[in-house]
Amino acid sequence: MTILSVIVLGLIYPFVMTGLAQVMFPHQANGSLVTVNGQVVGSSIVGQLWTKPQYFHGRPSAAGKNGYDPTSTGGTNYGPSSKKLIDSTRATIAALKKENPNATVPIPMDLVTSSGSGIDPDISPQAAYYQAPRVAQARKMDVKAVDDLIARNTKGRTFGFLGEPRVNVLQLNLALDAARP
């Protein structure tokens, strides 16, 4: 019984599923990769580390040494009373204020907290608007034009009630590059 079930459920089933998935949804099955001029620049579902001022940045990440390492996913696992949590949050806030001196909206919560996966591909719309003046200045763009890009790349709640509104950072940065390389 054990051997038979391993063959049916452990081998045939995943092989059939992979075959069907590769035929029906090859793009998603292979990791939703995004290409620019034939070069793979990332996956639309996996967040990346962004540091340059002309790009929008994602959230703090606890995945791997530098963050955003898909081979080492996870959060900080700091509890609400953790001194390390409060200290690192304070440092993150200070760094954000230094990088974004001209921000016009308050710092949103998602920009100072690490995600559960460490590879969160999204930020809240407010987190994008917060960074817009910095990005606009680095690219010598109008803040209004950057805000428009954010609005166009904002995804609402699914069916109006599932999840939260969000902006995919890679998608937004690609749109930026397309608007003003």
Binding site: L9, S81, L162, E164
Partner: protein, 566 residues
């Protein structure tokens, strides 16, 4: 809290409610051996499996025979997974060339999956070959869930049968649960998950360069086929360390909604199966109502705590809900709902870091597991756990009014109560004793991620979760030899010290004559009974743990509000 957050929870509940009857009807047909949709394809497969493995499908087993088969099958599957994990280096489908697992971690992982716990001390993306994932972990996801459903079926039969002493055939129940319920749903919904972005491939990880020129490794694997059964079988062991928080397992709010549904739906449907088989669907709906009330109480507390946010962070000048350890696409509401669902059942998948929940937000998952995960519950284990509480409730109610307690017309006597009490005592002993031991030994304290009361909560959560076969974690606690062995033993005892008394209880009930319902009968489907049942669950289940829960989450809650950190 927002109206939209609540709307999400309410619509979710309504969908579960709507699915309970149709799925329950279908499952009743499957386990009564009646024809279903899939029969033309699956009956020949089923017969072939019985012939090849020498099972006589018409042979019925007494409770001890049934229990023996459960134990024997579990032992074989435990050894199989252990060997697979210890030899994966030499086996195919290992493009990352991961090494064999260490003995203590392999033991912990093998027990974890065999008992349907899926406690994650391993990190899938950096330790598991694709073969270990699909033929080891995902396979266990199917069969440990099917074994749970089988036991629930046997217990139901014991409660309703009035002649004979048998409870059904374990091999038939196991095969039917896998083939007719878990497999078709996995194929259909698994492909849907892939269409939403969950990867499904055998490719090696690839390195890409971002627009900024930074290198990043993109992982892959047969994730979709494993993700679906991880939820449907209330297993919860992630393909990757971050589990359903990872966009590779759970890429969108829609997949999140579907995954939560998968976790709850079989447990909910089993209440209908129970009512249907007892020839009184009100019996099933009474259990469903009690479960629903506990579900909403739990969700309300978690959601309120998470939406209110962390006052210590607010003091730094940033307002909003607690998003530490949560994904942007889910936010506070969907994370609170997932945490409630995954601990109401024995699933233990997580879409956010429970360790970083607010103190009271993290308290609810702990309490849910301490109650025995009977709120819809794990596939099978929820229902047989709930039936144990039902037996206790009719007994206590009978004592209160001085009447012989009855369940479905059968007298509840000394032996039944003894078995029920035995099962009810297992949880507190196996949670509190090891927690106390870990809290005073260097090995138990060595790998905590947090100090102060939250560190204690990490230990309490670990033993609560492994004993309840949940598998979610305050994941800051890292594995060491002590925890690998102790939590491994805890999972074993937690599963089988409930299963065996539950089957024994069913066995003694199976032979009893049922007397017709009369004017003096205390009905087990009235609102009064539902209220009593909830009372017994809370008193028996929760009060034992109150001191421990107070030392961890409650103390932390009070201290955070006073601005204290550790």
């Amino acid at each position: 809290m927002t109206a939209i957050g609540w709307l999400q929870a309410i619509i979710f509940f309504l969908v579960v409610l709507a699915l309970t009857k149709p799925l329950g009807l279908y499952m009743t047909r499957v386990f009564s051996g009646e024809r279903t949709w899939f029969s033309p394809v699956l009956v020949p497969v089923e017969r072939f499996i019985y012939r090849l493995s020498g099972v006589n499908p018409d042979e019925e087993m007494p409770w001890y025979g049934y229990a023996f088969c459960v134990l024997a099958f579990s032992l074989v599957s435990l050894v199989y997974l252990y060997v697979l994990l210890r030899t994966q280096k030499w086996l195919p489908l290992n493009p990352q060339h991961f090494d064999n697992m260490t003995p203590d971690l392999a033991w912990n992982t093998a027990v974890s999956f065999m008992t349907n716990t899926n406690w994650q001390f391993y990190s899938g993306e950096s330790t598991m070959s694709y073969l270990s994932q699909m033929a080891g972990l995902a396979w266990h996801n199917f069969v440990s869930a099917a074994a749970g459903i089988a036991v629930a079926l046997a217990v139901i039969r014991g409660v309703i049968r009035t002649s004979g002493k048998t409870l059904g055939n374990f091999w038939v129940d196991l095969t039917r649960a896998s083939l007719y319920i878990l497999l078709p749903a996995s194929i259909a919904v698994g492909l849907f998950l892939v269409s939403q972005g969950v990867p499904q491939n055998f490719a090696a990880y690839q390195t890409i360069h971002t627009l900024e020129g930074t290198a990043q490794t993109i992982t892959g694997g047969p994730i979709g086929s494993q993700e679906i059964i991880k939820e449907l079988g209330t297993n919860g062991g992630g393909f990757v360390n971050a589990n359903s928080a990872s966009p590779n397992e759970n890429p969108s709010p829609l997949t999140n909604f579907i995954e939560m549904l998968l976790i709850l739906v079989i447990g909910a449907a089993l209440t209908y199966v129970y009512g249907r088989m007892a020839k009184n669907t009100k019996q099933g709906w009474a259990l469903f109502s009690a479960m629903s009330i506990l579900f909403f109480v739990g969700f309300t507390v978690v959601y309120a705590a998470e939406a209110a946010g962390n006052p210590l962070v607010h003091q730094l000048g940033v307002a909003g809900a607690n998003l530490e350890g949560k994904e942007t696409r889910f936010g506070a509401a969907a994370s609170a709902l997932f945490a409630t669902v995954t601990t109401d059942t024995s699933c233990g998948a997580v879409n956010a870091a429970h360790d970083s929940f607010m103190a009271l937000g993290g308290l609810v998952p702990i309490v849910n597991m301490q109650l025995g995960e009977i709120v819809f519950g794990g596939v099978g284990s929820g229902l047989y756990g709930m039936i144990i509480f039902v037996v206790l409730t009719v007994f206590i109610a009978g004592l209160m009014v001085g009447r012989t307690p009855e369940l479905l017309g059968k007298k509840i006597e000394r032996r039944e109560v003894q078995f029920a009490i035995l099962a009810a005592l297992v949880t507190p002993i196996l949670v509190l004793v090891p927690t106390a031991v870990a809290a005073v030994t260097p090995a138990g304290l060595a790998t905590l991620n947090n100090a102060g009361p939250h560190g204690f909560s990490e230990i309490l959560y670990a033993f609560t979760s492994t004993n309840a076969n949940n598998g979610s974690a305050f994941a800051g606690l890292s594995p060491n030899l002590f925890y690998n062995i102790a939590t491994g033993l805890n999972m074993l005892f937690g599963r089988f010290l409930i299963i065996v008394p539950a089957l024994a209880l069913a066995g003694t009930l199976a032979g009893k004559k049922a007397v017709a319902e009369g004017a003096g009968t205390f009905t087990t489907y009235s609102p009064v009974f539902v209220a009593l049942l909830i009372g017994v669950i809370v008193i028996v289940g929760a009060l034992t743990f109150l001191p421990a829960d107070a030392l961890g989450p409650v103390v932390e809650h009070l201290l955070v509000n006073q601005g204290k950190t550790f």
